[in-house]
């Protein structure tokens, strides 16, 4: 096997082990929360996780999508989960994360060992067609766990107004009453304020990290980014995650200043789209044989990253409310600023129109200096795949070569590795790239 060589220096990320440890602690803390008298709750990766933090420092979440992805990474366990869901009567074309998650409950097996730790309450939001339903089923499977869901599907960021914010904030206030009644705990607004500020730090700093990937050579590749962005999908409002991202930003900035590349033979830059097939991330390493680096995607940038367009028309990290000197001094102001911030989330925009997604993707393609795009027609996620064929046409019209491959983020039965590699070979040929090594 030939060595991976190139004109750029490379080195491992120093904070890599720390990222792994934070993730490991997260799943362990959730499982063991009851041992120390703490609480467990479950909800989606987009739920307003800062709000339950007002119940105390011993309240631990598990977010469903990254948990479903963790199941998918373990192919044998995933298959058993999927089959358990299907046996229970849930259709095979539903969200693959959801089916893995339900299967894990049905099998009563936690992906990180032991029985599935039953949450004390469910705290969800709803924008994707699966979201609230997901936890309605979880509640049923777990014999009636209290469930609260916040509807956030109020339209794109261009149409945000006071009524829409009020609609969501009202649900949040009611939700806090639900939390107090359900847990019997008194809600602490100071903890809420601290948590939302951490949320702003996490989401803004992750975007800052992604911005650094505009550099040639890219300091990060997307496969590595998946292991880093995941922390934001676990608990954006946690101080640990916010602090970690600031540490990560410093390290990646240093890589940029020293010209450290993720892919030493980088000569071609692409982006992907939607969740990858989690059991087959070697696809991204395969690209490197051609000197091709996936610098990220709207998905890995915008699922948790907070972005805005600056005066020059560039897509840049969103300045935090603290930097903008916004007042956050009580429950209501915290919830309002939190809501307004989240309604700008890039990955929420394209639920309203594929054109909004195309616009963001073309912006990334231009500013991150891309040579091509690889679109995953992801059968496992209706929400993020909706309109993807429209995005393809828009990208082609904008002059970017596009390759598509079909698959499923969480159901390996719908992904064909060999044919996907064959397709990549053909795409690399169209980009006039040959393998540097086997």
């Amino acid at each position: 096997m030939a060595e991976k060589k190139g004109k750029y220096p490379t080195e491992p990320l120093k904070c890599w082990e720390k990222a792994k440890q934070i993730r490991e602690d997260y799943y362990k803390n959730y499982a063991k929360a009851h041992d120390k008298g703490g609480l467990r709750w479950a909800g989606g990766a987009w739920t307003f996780d800062a709000i339950p933090m007002g119940l105390g420092d011993d309240v631990y979440p598990i977010t469903s999508e990254p948990y479903g992805a963790s199941c998918a990474f373990n192919k044998q366990f995933s298959l058993r989960c999927l089959e358990a869901s299907e046996k229970a009567g849930y259709a095979r074309d539903l969200c693959a994360y959801m089916r893995n998650y339900w299967g894990s409950i049905l099998l009563n097996e936690y992906a990180f060992g032991g029985p599935f730790p039953k949450p004390d309450f469910l705290w969800q939001d709803h924008i994707c067609c699966s979201h609230a339903k997901w936890y309605q089923i979880v509640s049923e499977l777990e014999h009636g766990i209290p469930h609260y869901s916040i509807d956030v599907a109020v339209g794109p960021e261009s149409d945000i107004n006071e009524n829409k914010i009020e609609y969501i904030v009202g649900q949040m206030h009611d939700g806090i009453e639900f939390l107090e009644k359900t847990t019997g705990r008194k809600y602490n607004d100071n903890l809420l304020i601290k948590a939302v500020k951490n949320h702003f730090r996490t989401t803004s700093t992750w975007a800052k990290v992604c911005e650094l990937n505009k550099t040639v050579p890219a300091p990060l590749d997307e496969k590595s980014m998946y292991s880093l962005y995941v922390l934001g999908t676990l608990q954006k409002a946690s101080e640990t995650v916010a602090d970690f991202y600031e540490e990560l930003y410093k390290e990646v900035k240093d890589r940029v200043e020293r010209g450290i590349a993720a892919t030493p033979n980088e000569r071609c830059r692409v982006m992907s789209d939607t969740q990858p097939p989690w059991g087959f991330l070697s696809v991204f390493r395969y690209l490197e044989k051609f000197g091709c680096v996936s610098i990220g995607s709207l998905y890995s940038f915008g699922l948790i990253g907070a972005w805005e367009v600056d005066d020059k028309g560039e897509w840049v990290h969103r300045k935090t409310p603290m930097e903008n000197k916004l007042t956050i001094n009580d429950r209501d102001s915290a919830l309002r600023v939190y809501t307004e911030w989240e309604l700008h989330k890039p990955e929420w925009q394209h639920f309203y129109s594929p054109d909004l997604k195309s616009e963001m993707m073309i912006r990334i393609a231009k500013q991150w200096k891309l040579n091509g795009v690889m679109l995953h027609y992801n059968r496992g996620c209706e929400g993020l795949s909706l309109g993807i064929a429209e995005n393809r046409l828009a990208l082609l019209e904008a002059g970017y070569p596009v390759m598509v491959f079909e698959g499923n983020m969480g159901d390996e039965r719908e992904f064909d590795m060999v044919r996907t590699m064959g397709r990549i070979d053909a795409f690399m040929e169209t980009l006039e790239l040959k393998k540097d090594f086997d």
Binding site: E406, D416, R419, G422, R423, D425, A426, E429, T430, E432
Partner: protein
Amino acid sequence: MITAGIDMGAKTIKVVIMEDGKKVLSMAKDLGGTDTRATTEKIYADALKKASVKMEDITHVTSTGTGRAAAPYAKDNITEVGAAAKGVIFIYPSARTVIDVGAEEGKTLRCDATGKVIDFAVNEKCAAGAGSFMESMARALEVKLEELGPLALKSTNAIPMNAQCAVFAESEVVTLVHQKTPKQDIAKAIHDAIADRITSMVRKVGFEKDVVIIGGVAKNPAFVEAMKRNLEMDMIVANEPEFVGAIGAAIMAVENAGVK
């Protein structure tokens, strides 16, 4: 310079010997079987013999096709998409769109005058866009594969068939047989279904004249007719359509050998 192109297809293996990437000296093919290496060596020897050249006269061998990585003699390889474009442009310089339907895959591509691929699409896991689909349908109708196309051309009736999947299509055929539907009408429905599937791929990548059909299924006149009907345009059926990929590989071998 004498070069060779080996197309390790899903079902058949094709070898082409060329001089300077400009003149085809010989072509040979056979079913791949299970011992594809031995089969390829035999076909290769056959092609050399037909071209009256010796093995040591071959400067460079490039492979293509599904099994290209396992091709004996080949020093490098090119994807089926790239080989198809190169082969077609060599034979038909005016071609800009290629429809390639082989045993395992249906694919379509757009290319420029140099044979550079601009966009391409390949059918997914399902066999419903490939030659193996026709083989299973011929079995279901109890006719020989080469009779299926001419049989379909006798029909003037259009029967809708939801051939998203070869297995479901076969059960549809069985149902139609039980309903005493004339065989030629069923045969036409099969061709229309596969052509519809390929047409959607063609539309996906876009198409412009000239459109050239290659691959084994190009020999089927009913499929070609259905494609013409769907795209409302005439198209060129390549001479020796199964060998175009191997020709593309032999041309690529000239480039890969470092001499134009």
